[in-house]
């Protein structure tokens, strides 16, 4: 029961309208002393402990703070799970770093009387109150108490244009009058009065919230025999840095069976609008099974993990055209895996940087919970593999990092399959990474038969609602979409969703319909502006944070959008809330494009939107995105990931890596980046690095960007400056590492030196630039001499240096070839191989230029011996583009290897390295020769990189020098722990071999005591009784007690040998 008087809604005293907002942490609290006194400290603390977004407190009485301190902080309690731990803060918010999930209670007046005076106290109070604006608070509850005194600043806030839903709790008999007066002064429109006594409200609110807050997390887990069990994992997540703030873990509640008839029309239409809104349609098997092959492949991969351990972990990608149903597809795969008892995580759509270590920690914690649940009693030890699924946005622009993410989890010994969605045109980083496998391709192309089968399938769900489509209607839709006027427009799946909701018929296009809706039903200019912004962000697959919505003078924009929900919903606009940050988005990027294209072609509307200067729809998009990027609110710490995305993806200009969306408008794209808030720009390594990469790419590509050398030099100078500024910033975990920055810096200085030389800059200035490039190169090389990009820049640096020193040309050519071909042995990506092979080509050219005619007589100097060897290698090769040593004639390689073994070159480390590479290729099982060569290099840190060190160590094992090998592995493990090293065990060294037969060597081992639950150790007789770990789960059925003898094989990883069952591999 409620009444509305003069824009003041008065509720019944027992009404609790706040409960649902507490669920989504969409409400904040302002506590007044009168309320706290009336309710008492414990009851007040009970109210404060609910999951508010944050609390502003006018009181800091000792009793209240004691009661807050005494609140239950056990991490398994529902309240802690919901809002993290309580942090009482008596300093300005900018001086505090809060964990991602927490409940801050800001003491507006400090803790003591002394805190409450002077300028600092006022500044602190102002900053705390400003959080209301900064966080874009949607709903504010003022606990006024029996003597209502509204906060002094509240009126000022409203007068300044801040607005939110305001609920005032007060049983003051004069409350109505006081509020009405306040409303008149502040100009506030919507206020709700809850005339409840403080004690009553405290008790009722706390009780009713905690009664309904049963968010236990029960998942389905399979045991060794595939039987599914329910396991309670509540409290397994870190309450302050919750992994489940960024991921959803499919729980038993999601998996409950639903019949097709059990779905309501709202759920069915909701599924067509946004297939990520609910799991119930999946439980009812509503998604059409499009590609059984993908499901089978994934199931097989998960089963392989059962047998083969973390090494069998796989990473799959799904290529999908925009709007072609990838979200539904990947969620359906995830649902299927969870049904089978494979714990499944699905990443949220909000921007965040996935961390493999956080996921590994979470899985470890859950495994402890699963072990404690004691499922599968009497069966062998078993660890269920996990599926981790990502929709499109999480890896966009940083696809190269997904392998590192997976490695961090598998290195922790966890078994995982990762599935992620990417573009139809594969980003180069995915194409370049051999460990990523294609699972499925989703397009708008669909055969007529399949489309008709889809119709029959969906009719099962539509029929109970009376909205099934007749066969002839399906046929007409299919004809229209696949062979008729809409054919080739690539929107089959989107059109289907709109058609099934009866929003379009066959006489109109989705685009036309959508824009008409926008034009006719959205009339408020601010809402139009907001929807255009949301559409533009959706076209780059980003959500628009609510705090970035354009400001409205009369009424909060977000509320206007919500009020228009029936219209904006039809436009595909949705609000999503992750943690305490709300976002707006369009459900398909294509819908955003449709809307912006419509706007572009509607000249009057475009003009009134301030976009008259747009030259075409893409230019219009850029203008809108630039406007969003320049919003000062984007500098808020909560939005750093999004702000960085403007540099790493949205405005990134890197055509070679497939980022050329705004390449034609590169000037405006760079200007847009420069117009972002300075406080953010100058503090983000990632931003500085990626914007400098864009500048360097533009300066480098004279075909795509026809600009003069003055402009190129400007771009490159700015690029070097920005990278140096980035290096001066502290490196945060997960941020841009020094290695990448040094690499880019070296390239940028080299490029700048080239341009300056062309412009006729004095030689000493050019030399100074080269010297800086050289310094950066060596800094990168010191950090990681095995990284393919580092090697490329290093080789480039050496070649440039050699062109100024003809006498050393042969040695440099030899060194570069050794580096390049060594890297190519490990690099399978075509584009990386091409980049490396171009350097090899340059090395051969250098050799030919410096050597002139090469005689085939006995060499008298090292230089001659090198020239002869390399000439023999390249003999008769006119075309070397993209070739690795494998593509050279074997006779050339053998001849070159023999010449590199000339006594004059025995102590030449570069010659030995190239010989080693050739030996691995042409004598892969000759471990004696390989070891001899690498031992020659041992101690030479400049050449014996961690990769070669690893190979040398394994070769020692292969040659029965186990004791030495064991000591070396110990050092290598320390090295891996100190930094990022990308090493891998070559296939030929993967297993301990019997050199006489070339077969894998069987070993006998005796189980030692100790272990970590998943792994035990055994002393392996053939490894001089070295202690070698093995996975319990792999030795099925064996009594694994200390002292037991077992037989097995030995495989090598980067951490050393691992005992495997005889059936392994």
């Amino acid at each position: 029961m409620s009444e509305i008087v003069d824009r003041l809604q008065i509720l019944a005293p027992d009404a609790l309208p706040i409960l649902s907002e507490l669920d989504s942490r969409d409400a904040s609290l302002w506590l007044m002393p009168s309320f706290a006194e009336a309710a008492g400290p414990e009851a007040t603390a009970g109210v404060l402990s609910l999951p508010w977004e944050f609390v502003l407190s006018e009181t800091a009485s000792e009793d209240l703070l004691k009661a807050v301190d005494a609140l239950d902080s056990a991490i398994e309690t529902p309240l802690v799970r919901r809002r993290g731990l309580v942090h009482v803060i008596d300093v300005p918010p900018s001086n505090t770093v809060l964990p991602p999930r927490s409940l801050p209670i800001f003491l507006l007046n400090g803790r003591t009387e002394a805190d409450n005076a002077g300028f600092a106290a006022r500044a602190r109070r102002m900053e705390m109150i400003r959080e209301l604006q900064q966080r874009g608070v949607r709903s504010l509850v003022v606990l006024g108490g029996p003597d209502l005194m509204l906060p002094a600043e509240l009126e000022q806030l409203w007068q300044d244009g801040f607005q939110c839903g305001l609920t005032i709790v007060s049983d003051d008999p004069e409350a109505r009058q006081k509020i009405t007066e306040w409303q008149a002064g502040a100009g506030a429109r919507r206020v709700t009065l809850l005339p409840a006594p403080a004690a009553l409200l405290s008790e009722a609110l706390h009780r009713r919230y905690t009664e309904r807050a049963d968010d236990r997390l029960i998942i389905r887990v399979r045991d060794a025999q595939g039987t599914r069990h329910r396991v309670d994992l509540s409290g397994r997540d870190d309450p302050e840095h919750p992994l489940l703030g960024n991921y959803e873990l499919l729980s038993e509640a999601h998996l409950e069976y639903v019949t097709p008839e059990g779905l309501s029309s709202e759920e069915i239409n909701g599924f067509f609008r946004d297939s990520s809104a609910s799991w119930r349609p999946y439980a009812a098997q509503m998604p059409w099974p499009r590609d059984d092959r993908a499901r089978n492949t994934l199931t097989k991969a998960l089963r392989d993990l059962d047998r083969n351990g973390p090494e069998a972990s796989r990473i799959f990608y799904i290529r999908a055209e925009s709007g072609a149903g990838a979200t539904t597809f990947i969620r359906d795969l995830a649902f299927g895996a969870a049904m089978d008892g494979y714990p499944t995580l699905i990443a949220n759509q909000a921007p965040f940087t996935p961390s493999g270590r956080s996921v590994a920690n979470f899985i470890n914690s859950c495994l402890n919970g699963i072990t404690a649940a004691d499922i599968g009693k009497g069966l062998r030890q078993y660890e269920a593999p996990w599926l981790i699924a990502f929709d499109r946005s999480q890896w966009e622009g940083r696809e190269g990092d997904i392998a590192t993410f997976a490695r961090q989890i598998t290195e922790a010994g966890r078994r995982i399959c990762i599935v992620f969605v990417t573009d139809a045109l594969l980003p180069v980083a995915i194409y370049a990474e051999k460990r990523l496998e294609n699972l499925s391709d989703l397009s708008h192309e669909i055969s007529q038969e399949a489309a008709m089968a889809l119709g029959q399938h969906l009719n099962r769900f539509l029929r109970p609602l009376g909205t099934a489509r007749e066969a002839h209607e399906w046929q007409a839709f299919v004809n229209h979409s696949l062979v008729g006027p809409a054919a080739g427009r690539s929107v089959f799946w989107i059109a289907l969703a709109f058609w099934l909701q009866r929003q379009i018929d066959l006489t109109e296009t989705v685009q036309g319909w959508l824009y008409d809706q926008f034009r006719q039903k959205v009339t408020d200019p601010v809402v139009r502006h907001a929807i255009v912004d949301i559409a533009a962000m959706s076209t780059v697959r980003q959500l628009l944070p609510e705090t970035l919505l354009p400001r409205s003078e009369d009424f909060p924009t977000r509320d206007k959008l919500s009020d228009l929900q029936s219209t904006v919903g039809a436009l595909g606009v949705v609000r999503q809330r992750f943690g305490t940050v709300s976002h707006w988005a369009m459900i398909h990027d294509q819908l955003g494009r449709f809307l912006l294209t419509g706007l572009f072609h509607d000249a009057p509307a475009r003009e009134s939107a301030g976009l008259a200067a747009a030259q075409n729809p893409d230019h219009l998009r850029l203008m809108v995105l630039a406007r969003i990027a320049s919003n000062p609110m984007i500098a808020h710490p909560d939005l750093v990931e999004l702000a960085e995305t403007f540099a790493t993806s949205i405005f990134k200009i890197d055509p070679g890596q497939g980022r050329s969306e705004f390449a034609l408008y590169w000037c405006e794209a760079l200007e847009a980046l420069d117009a972002m808030p300075k406080t953010f720009r100058m503090a983000s390594r990632t931003f500085l690095h990626h914007s400098s990469i864009s500048r360097r790419r533009i300066a480098k590509d004279d075909l795509m960007f026809p600009i003069n050398d003055d402009k190129r030099a400007d771009l490159l100078r700015r690029s070097t400056g920005d990278i140096e500024a980035a290096l001066a910033l502290e490196h945060d975990a997960g941020g841009e590492p020094d290695l990448n920055l040094y690499n880019s810096l070296a390239h940028a200085y080299h490029d700048l030196a080239e341009v300056e030389a062309r412009r006729g800059t004095p030689a000493e200035q050019v030399a100074a630039l080269r010297s800086k490039a050289n310094k950066a190169t060596y800094s990168a090389y010191r950090l990681n001499p095995d990284n393919s990009y580092v090697l490329e820049v290093y080789a480039r640096d050496r070649l440039i240096g050699a062109s100024e020193d003809p006498d050393g040309a042969a040695s440099v050519a030899l060194e570069v070839l050794g580096i390049v071909y060594g890297a190519m042995q490990r690099e399978t990506a075509e584009l990386r191989r091409n980049a490396l092979s171009r350097l090899a080509d340059k090395a051969f050219d250098l050799l030919l230029r410096s050597a002139g005619t090469v005689d085939d007589t006995e060499p008298s100097t090292e230089g001659e011996a090198i020239q002869q060897a390399l000439s023999a290698l390249g003999d008769g090769m006119t075309q070397r583009e993209g070739m690795s040593l494998d593509d050279f004639p074997r006779t050339n390689r053998i001849d070159a290897a023999a010449r590199l073994g000339h006594p004059l070159l025995r102590s030449n480390a570069q010659a030995v390295r190239l010989r080693y590479i050739l030996a691995c290729m042409d004598h892969p099982k000759d471990f004696a020769l390989q070891l001899e060569l690498l031992e020659t290099l041992d101690g030479n840190r400049a050449i014996l990189s961690p990769q070669l060190d690893l190979e040398l160590t394994i070769l020692m094992h292969q040659r029965n020098r186990h004791h030495q090998a064991s000591q070396r592995f110990q050092k290598l493990r320390q090295l891996w722990a100190r930094g990022e090293h990308y090493v891998e065990v070559p296939d030929r060294l993967r297993w301990l071999l019997d050199e006489s037969t070339g077969q894998r060597r069987q070993v006998r081992a005796r189980i030692a005591s100790g272990g970590d639950g998943a792994r035990l150790h055994a002393r392996v007789q053939e490894l001089q009784n070295d202690r070698v770990p093995f996975r319990i789960a792999e030795f099925d059925g064996t009594q694994l007690r200390p002292g037991t003898n077992i037989s097995g094989l030995i495989s090598f990883g980067h951490n050393g040998p691992l005992l495997r069952p005889l059936t392994a591999g």
Binding site: A424, L425, S443, Q615, G882
Partner: protein
């Protein structure tokens, strides 16, 4: 209003049409243009009408197979955006030399983008370019392989369409230009030095008659066929 493709092409000096063929280098474009000019004079048919256009991926190091990959991906993406923006629809296909690099990069294009289909969006040069008659993709590929089965594995570039006597004359006049010949089932692939290729181009421009370019004219007709343009009435 100017679309993305047009703006991009203007920057490159390309004259794009609505049905475009991207080739590896300038020499391919020159031979094709020469054939078109000769055939237009001879028959009055303009092989480059109806929006048909040919251009090279780049000059020197910027062209070649990698240039075709880079430019074709960029142009197709822009054409897709232009189409979504309700602007002129344009089609782009790639034509690769049938050598190790060409085959590899044609495959790479298809691997990188599942919407790019062999023998629909990317083509390799063959001694016989089969008629499509509206059938593209795997079926056209099957036809190409069947009709060229006798010389499977033989590399093939545009210069190999030139008649034997013309090439002989050139080689006699320019010793050192030819590196090696590869023969199979009466077809000959020739590898020239980089300079030799340039000399050959000039030689052909000066010496050739329309009869010498018949195979190249047929190649253009085949490409028009693949792009869905009129070709039957234009064939020699």
């Amino acid at each position: 209003m100017i679309g993305l493709v047009e703006r991009y092409a203007n920057g490159k000096g390309w004259n794009v049409g609505t049905a475009n063929v991207l080739v590896e280098g300038t020499s391919d474009v020159r031979y094709l243009r020469l054939a078109r000019d000769l055939w237009q004079r001879e028959s009055n048919h303009d092989l480059f009408d109806s929006g048909f256009a040919v251009f090279e991926a780049g000059l020197k190091d910027d062209g070649g197979v990698q240039g075709v990959v880079r430019e074709l991906q960029a142009l197709r993406q822009m054409a897709f955006q232009d189409r979504a923006s309700l602007m002129t629809e344009r089609k782009f296909v790639g034509l690769f030399d049938n050598d190790h690099a060409g085959r590899k990069h044609a495959r790479m294009l298809c691997d990188m983008d599942f919407r790019v289909k062999h023998y629909r969006d990317v083509f390799l040069l063959h001694p016989i370019m089969p008629a499509s008659n509206g059938v593209l993709g795997p079926e056209l590929q099957r036809r190409a392989e069947a009709q060229n089965g006798s010389c499977a594995g033989l590399d093939w570039e545009i210069e190999d369409f030139l008649p034997e006597d013309l090439i002989r004359g050139f080689c006699n006049a320019n010793p050192g230009a030819l590196i090696r010949e590869q023969k199979m089932a009466g077809r000959v692939h020739r590898e020239f030095t980089r300079e030799g290729k340039g000399w050959l181009q000039r030689y052909v421009a000066e010496e050739t008659l329309v009869e010498d370019m018949i195979e190249v004219i047929r190649l253009i007709c085949a490409l028009r066929d693949y792009l869905g343009l009129e070709h039957q009435s234009m064939r020699p």
